[in-house]
């Protein structure tokens, strides 16, 4: 009798859990598991959207890795962005976070001003920077010329397009600033006082008190930065489109990466292969590369103590 009621109770609580989870269970199946498996399936198919899919073995894989001219440039760009943009963003975010904890006058005003650019919609922000940095009449080059500095071609010059994107990314540092600010305010004050009594210089205090305390947050910022870089899509695409002068519309096709493939990223390849070349199979190959890279870094993030999964469980 007792086992019976226990079992009934157990069944009831399982049903309850399933009921509460049901929206997500459907979402997970229809909008995650099914399309993911389907992507794997299509990566071995030749499919152009018109004729029925046809088994093609590893042909798409070989094509993407060996013959598709945009794949390796996109991967190299991603590496460049991971090394330069992510590093600078973390350093700058930490710097701005430190600065805001030291500012004692009109702190709220400074904080809001520093945070606002993060909110600018990516298309609008990129459009704004394409204007600010346009080589001919943009304000930045006008000012640089007035004070006698060189005027780069920014989004129109393959060597300067990624630095220009980095500048745009540094402008939108608000998210990291807030995260670092919270972490810096959490560092125990006694540790600074002790360090000061020992005669530690400001740099030594930063190096031996601040950094060890906030290192999990630095790690968090680096890994999420890498994941965001894998997904980097709207900004490089819009920057390239606006700078090249080719705009969407009937009959126009924008070959992504302008200038000279320097702004290509992996997500743009999925669009290029799938929706411009109608080679769904090869698009799925790139999608899977993107998937593998994102998940590898997500796993890294989840393994770290103090990372995502422990958050809020104290």
């Amino acid at each position: 009798m007792t086992t019976y009621t226990l079992r009934a109770k157990h069944r009831r609580s399982t049903l309850r859990t399933l009921a509460f989870l049901s929206p997500w269970l459907i979402g997970f199946t229809v909008f995650f598991a099914y399309p993911l498996l389907s992507t794997v399936y299509f990566s071995f198919m030749h499919y152009d959207g018109f004729r029925p899919p046809e088994w093609s073995g590893t042909k798409n894989w070989v094509y993407v890795f060996e013959h598709y001219p945009l794949f390796w440039p996109a991967l190299r760009n991603t590496l460049w962005l991971v090394v330069v943009m992510v590093t600078l963003r973390v350093a700058f975010g930490l710097g701005v976070g430190l600065l805001i904890t030291k500012v004692k006058t009109a702190t709220g005003v400074f904080r809001t001003l520093f945070y606002l650019p993060y909110l600018a919609p990516p298309v609008a922000a990129t459009m704004a920077f394409a204007f600010l940095l346009n080589p001919g009449t943009g304000p930045v080059n006008s000012i640089l010329e007035k004070i006698g500095l060189p005027t780069p071609g920014w989004f129109n010059d393959p060597t300067w397009s990624k630095p220009a994107l980095t500048l745009l990314a540094l402008w939108g540092i608000g998210d990291l600033m807030v995260i670092f600010m919270a972490a810096l305010l959490d560092v125990p004050k006694e540790q600074y006082e002790a360090a000061e009594l020992d005669g530690a210089s400001p740099w030594q205090r930063f190096r031996y008190v601040t950094l060890p305390n906030i290192s999990p947050i630095v790690m968090f910022a680096v890994v999420t930065g890498v994941i965001q870089t894998m997904q980097y899509y709207t900004q490089p695409l819009i920057a390239g489109k606006v700078a090249s002068g080719v705009i969407q519309g009937a009959g126009t096709q924008f070959e992504p990466g302008y200038p000279d493939k320097s702004t290509l990223t992996l997500p743009q390849l999925v669009y290029n292969l799938g929706f411009q070349r109608f080679d769904y199979g090869s698009a799925c190959v790139v999608a899977l590369v993107l998937f593998a890279l994102s998940m590898a870094f997500t796993a890294l993030l989840m393994r770290r103590r103090g990372g995502l999964i422990q958050a809020g469980e104290r």
């Binding site: 004692k104 298309v123 704004a128 807030v178 709207t234 969407q248 899977l288 809020g312």
Partner: protein, 297 residues
């Protein structure tokens, strides 16, 4: 800081050399920090300023190198609104962002609650899958999703392929809400149970009122996400200008006004402004949300 500045003047006895160096160092630090602050503030605000100034220039001046408008052409904004399609993009964006936000919040709350407060086998696995979904670039699954919506349901050329999935929980919102709900002490839930509340009643009457800041943060993030989304409308709405959103339409606006930076910048201001206005009204919820997304450990 002014107190520190004034103090030596008030002192009857001259300050000792040690005091004077400490004082001078504090003053120098104050100057250094605040000059850096002003420099940073210029870096963050000047782009907005230049964009706004250019949006008020005449057509011919926008092509020059001048930074300040000679005449203030407020009519540029009227011209943007008169552009065919602009109001439609505005309407579509509000539908996508508004409806999407409501659906996301309603469908994500029960899931987040179960993940935060129910004990069941596979809970950690479910949470890990939610995080994986959250980190999944939309491009990874876009080919099958596009084929599903366009070829099987014939819904391309509209925003429905972007809105409907939001009725089935959004991973980021579930995660953020779950973070928030775990901070609610179990005692409240036990008390509700003792009073005879069922699970649904407990959620609606006890948990939701306490979770208001978390829900506000999720709603804001989701609204901004839809407002900013470019890839989604590019895939599903591009073939039908009647379904474009502001973020998507802005780019074609640039195409139609190729050299008119003044009009393009006016349109840019109009796309940025609502987001910034919403932020000023809901600053607290927003900043709280950013800190909640994974760093308190």
């Amino acid at each position: 800081m002014t107190q520190v500045l004034d103090r030596p003047l008030e002192l009857k006895t001259p300050p000792s050399p040690a005091e004077r160096t400490a004082h001078r160092r504090a003053l120098l630090e104050w100057i250094a920090v605040h000059s850096l602050g002003v420099a940073a503030a210029l870096f963050f605000t000047l782009p907005f300023v230049f964009v706004f100034l250019t949006s008020l220039m005449s057509d011919s001046q926008a092509l020059s190198r001048d930074l300040i408008p000679h005449t203030w052409e407020w009519g540029n904004y009227a011209k943007v609104f008169d552009t065919p399609g602009f109001l439609t993009w505005w309407k579509n964006t509000l539908i996508y962002a508004g409806l999407g936000t409501v659906l996301t919040v309603v469908s994500s709350i029960p899931v987040a609650y179960a993940l935060a407060k129910f004990r069941f086998r596979g809970r950690n696995l479910a949470l890990m899958l939610v995080i994986s979904m959250m980190m999944l670039p939309p491009q990874v699954i876009v080919i099958p999703m596009y084929l599903f919506w366009a070829k099987q349901l014939d819904l391309s050329g509209s925003l429905w392929p972007l809105i409907i999935p939001m009725a089935f929980g959004d991973a980021f919102s579930i995660f953020l809400l779950r973070q928030f709900l775990t901070t609610i002490p179990d005692e409240y839930l036990d008390a509700a149970r003792v009073d005879g509340c069922g699970d649904l009643r407990t959620l609606l009457r006890v948990v939701l009122p306490m979770a208001r800041p978390g829900i506000a943060a999720v709603a804001l993030f989701q609204f901004f996400y839809a407002w900013n989304d470019y890839f989604g409308p590019q895939i599903y709405a591009s073939e039908n200008p009647g379904a474009w959103t502001l973020s998507y339409g802005l780019e074609s606006f640039k195409g139609a006004h190729h050299t008119d930076w003044n009009l393009t910048m006016a349109a840019t201001v109009l796309v940025m402004a609502p987001v910034i206005l919403v932020f000023f009204f809901a600053q607290k919820a927003f900043v709280e949300g950013v800190t909640l997304t994974g760093v308190k450990g």
